[in-house]
């Protein structure tokens, strides 16, 4: 299962959970009208539990996910198999090397000659495997290990003007 599929499923479950709760309360809105005060007391108790559950689930999850950042390590320049310079132009990519071997770890040093672009690598199935912004005056680094052979596409992920959607290049990965 791809990372995107997991994200999609988790989001769907959470959104569906919200919808179910609202629908349940909607269906339970009629009939006998309790004196509101005891209901409020019960609801505040439930809210406290809800708050604590969120606190002890969401916050540790968020913190844990900070331990796995897609940013290159400080020694990536030395440890990468290949270092590739990428420059975005309106509307083409200038890439110093475009052919790699399966299993190679490539450090992309991404900048721009004009406006903001986004350097996104798509695999054979048109699935985004990683991206970074290409900004004038800055070099962003992005590291990717090509696990599978194939022809990867580079698309522009940041709107850069009239031919933004046509800014496509290819990277070839072979065994």
């Amino acid at each position: 299962m791809t990372q995107q599929s997991i994200i999609w499923l988790i989001s769907l479950v959470l959104m569906l959970g919200v919808l179910i709760v609202f629908s349940y309360i909607y269906l339970k809105s009629g009939g006998h009208r309790d004196d509101y005060t005891p209901l409020q007391v019960r609801a505040y108790a439930i809210r406290t539990v809800f708050f604590l559950v969120l606190l002890f689930v969401l916050v540790p999850t968020g913190l844990y996910l900070l331990t796995d950042l897609p940013y290159p390590d400080i020694d990536a320049l030395e440890s990468a198999d290949r270092v590739v310079d990428v420059t975005g132009h309106q509307w083409r990519w200038e890439i110093s090397e475009t052919e790699f071997k399966t299993g190679q770890t490539v450090l992309f040093r991404v900048g721009s000659a004009d406006v903001n672009h986004g350097f996104g690598i798509y695999d054979n199935n048109l699935r985004l495997v990683g991206q970074t912004q290409a900004m004038p005056g800055f070099i962003n680094t992005m590291q990717h290990t090509f696990d599978r052979p194939g022809t990867y596409k580079v698309l522009c992920m940041e709107y850069c003007g009239t031919a933004h959607h046509g800014m496509i290049s290819e990277l070839v990965v072979s065994d």
């Binding site: 919200v18 004196d35 940013y71 406006v115 004038p136």
Partner: protein, 496 residues
């Protein structure tokens, strides 16, 4: 008329003509821009041949227009209810709408006459580097139009700040900070005041940041030697954009705080938890924006980590206080549902549901494969369309009611069904397309991406049809909207 229970509720007062003007403008512009959005999706689906420049012009108009008109609609709701508590300037309120319309004319001129299409984000240096697709004059007209609209909203918020200070002594008192932090035992400010205080603090800061980058861009257009740091420019743009876009919903939710209590005859009371929640939202909305920069790796990692973790905290006020509060007030209330109350109640469902894919997208490792895909419009359309727009249509439908006994017509129910089904289908396809890595802001799609996009067009058109019915009905009820008269049927079967 029976006595109302609630927050700022006195008699059920109609809206002032200027509030009605704000809402009528909002409704018409919402529908027009929804049609623009549908045309974009149809172009992406290959259903008609759309020139790329025209696509991006429409995209620019849709983006900047939706943010601006959401703010106009939110401001109308906030002003309507806040003016019952503090003494607001009608002149400033009028000036804001006039400046807005002037700004819109400038923006439309720049886009459809000057062919300007930088997207609403106007990321430096794109406005001045179009590769000959538009002139500096067109760019300057667009940026100036946005600036004019910003000036109008800045005046509005300054007037709200003035009125809050005049009534409460300080904005901090209007936010309930003495009661929250200093043991003050005096009466807590009502929700409309707290929400308006938050919107005012956040938007004044956001608007000043926005005006700063707009003026810098204007100088750069004519003095290219005035070079701007691209990362700094991006920070200012996204800080302004995030704050301004999010505050729209914080203003609009006041309609839920004020109207659901009328329907349920239960008060939506301010409590210390409520005050803490809104104070937290004030801080969070100002510091969360680095989650727009997660793929700008040169940004200090600590700052990106702040954007990531604040996204998780930001769900607390929405879920624990506002969404939960609406559930509590409705449960076994005996509410007599009508289309306005359904829209208001389910708007919070849309807002809460939209926060789910949003905070997940703010996770750095997720953003690496989701940023600038259709996942992003997927989550913001969920809370803006099924949240904010539902709140606005709920308020409009409420104002237009002619009597408490007026039953929903088949057309009202049809509009509700079309809006909800169309909206849900539209956002789910956006999110699914994000899962499929489809890039946002693309005039030309890969063939693999076109099929599902075609389906989205039909859902978009359902949403447009539902919205058009709501708006047309409101336009036929302008007189009723200004009338002081009860609009809500009291709950039945009350057991005391």
């Amino acid at each position: 008329m029976s006595e109302q229970v609630g927050n700022t509720m006195g008699p059920d007062e109609g809206a002032s003509p200027w509030v009605v003007a704000y809402l009528a403008t909002s409704g018409l512009v919402f529908v027009l821009l929804m049609l623009f959005g549908s045309a974009m999706r149809a172009g992406q689906a290959g259903m008609h041949d759309m020139d790329a420049a025209l696509f991006y012009e429409i995209m620019t108009a849709h983006g900047i227009g939706m943010i601006g008109i959401s703010a106009v609609a939110g401001a109308a709701i906030m002003w309507h209810f806040l003016s019952r508590v503090v003494n607001l300037s009608v002149g400033i309120f009028k000036a804001n709408l006039i400046l807005f319309l002037a700004g819109v004319a400038m923006i439309l001129g720049s886009i459809f006459l000057g062919k300007y299409h930088s997207a609403w984000t106007f990321l430096y240096p794109l406005p001045g580097q179009s590769m000959g697709m538009w002139t500096n004059g067109a760019a300057a007209l667009f940026l100036s139009g946005v600036l004019v609209i910003g000036v109008g909203f800045l005046l509005l918020h300054l007037d709200i700040g003035r009125a809050l200070i005049a009534h409460y002594g300080s904005v901090g008192r209007a936010m309930g900070w003495p009661q929250l932090f200093a043991g003050d035992k005096s009466e807590l400010p009502p929700p409309v005041v707290v929400a308006s205080g938050m919107a005012t603090i956040a938007n004044i800061v956001g608007l000043v940041a926005g005006a700063t980058i707009l003026i810098m861009l204007l100088i750069n257009l004519y003095q290219p030697g005035f070079v701007i740091n691209a990362l700094f420019a991006k920070n200012l743009t996204y800080f302004f954009g995030h704050v301004f876009a999010n505050v729209t919903i914080y203003m609009a939710v006041i309609a839920v705080y004020e109207l659901l209590p009328r329907y349920t005859q239960r008060p939506w009371k301010t409590s210390k938890t409520f005050l803490l929640s809104w104070t937290a939202s004030t801080v969070l909305v100002l510091i969360i924006y680095p989650h727009h920069l997660l793929m700008d790796m040169v940004t200090p990692t600590w700052m990106l980590a702040v954007g990531h973790i604040v996204g998780y905290f930001n769900t607390f006020p929405i879920l624990v206080v506002t969404a939960f509060g609406s559930l509590m007030i409705v449960y076994k209330s005996g509410i007599k549902w009508d289309v306005p109350s359904r829209l208001l109640f389910f708007s919070l469902c849309g807002w809460a549901a939209g926060t789910m894919p949003a905070f997940i997208d703010g996770t750095i490792s997720v953003n690496y494969v989701m940023h600038n895909t259709l996942w992003v419009p997927g989550h913001f359309h969920t809370y803006m369309m099924l949240g904010l727009v539902a709140m606005v249509f709920g308020f409009m439908s409420y104002l237009g009611k002619e009597s408490p006994d007026e039953a929903d017509s088949w057309l009202d129910r049809l509009a509700f069904g079309l809006f909800m089904i169309g909206g849900a289908g539209l956002v789910l396809i956006f999110l699914y397309s994000g899962k499929m890595s489809v890039v946002r802001r693309f005039a030309g799609y890969q063939p693999e991406w076109q099929g599902i996009t075609g389906l989205a067009v039909w859902f978009a058109l359902l949403t447009v049809a539902g919205s058009a019915i709501f708006v047309v009905k409101f336009l036929t009820r302008l007189g009723a909207s200004t009338r002081d008269a009860p609009r809500v049927t009291q709950p039945k079967a009350v057991a005391v």
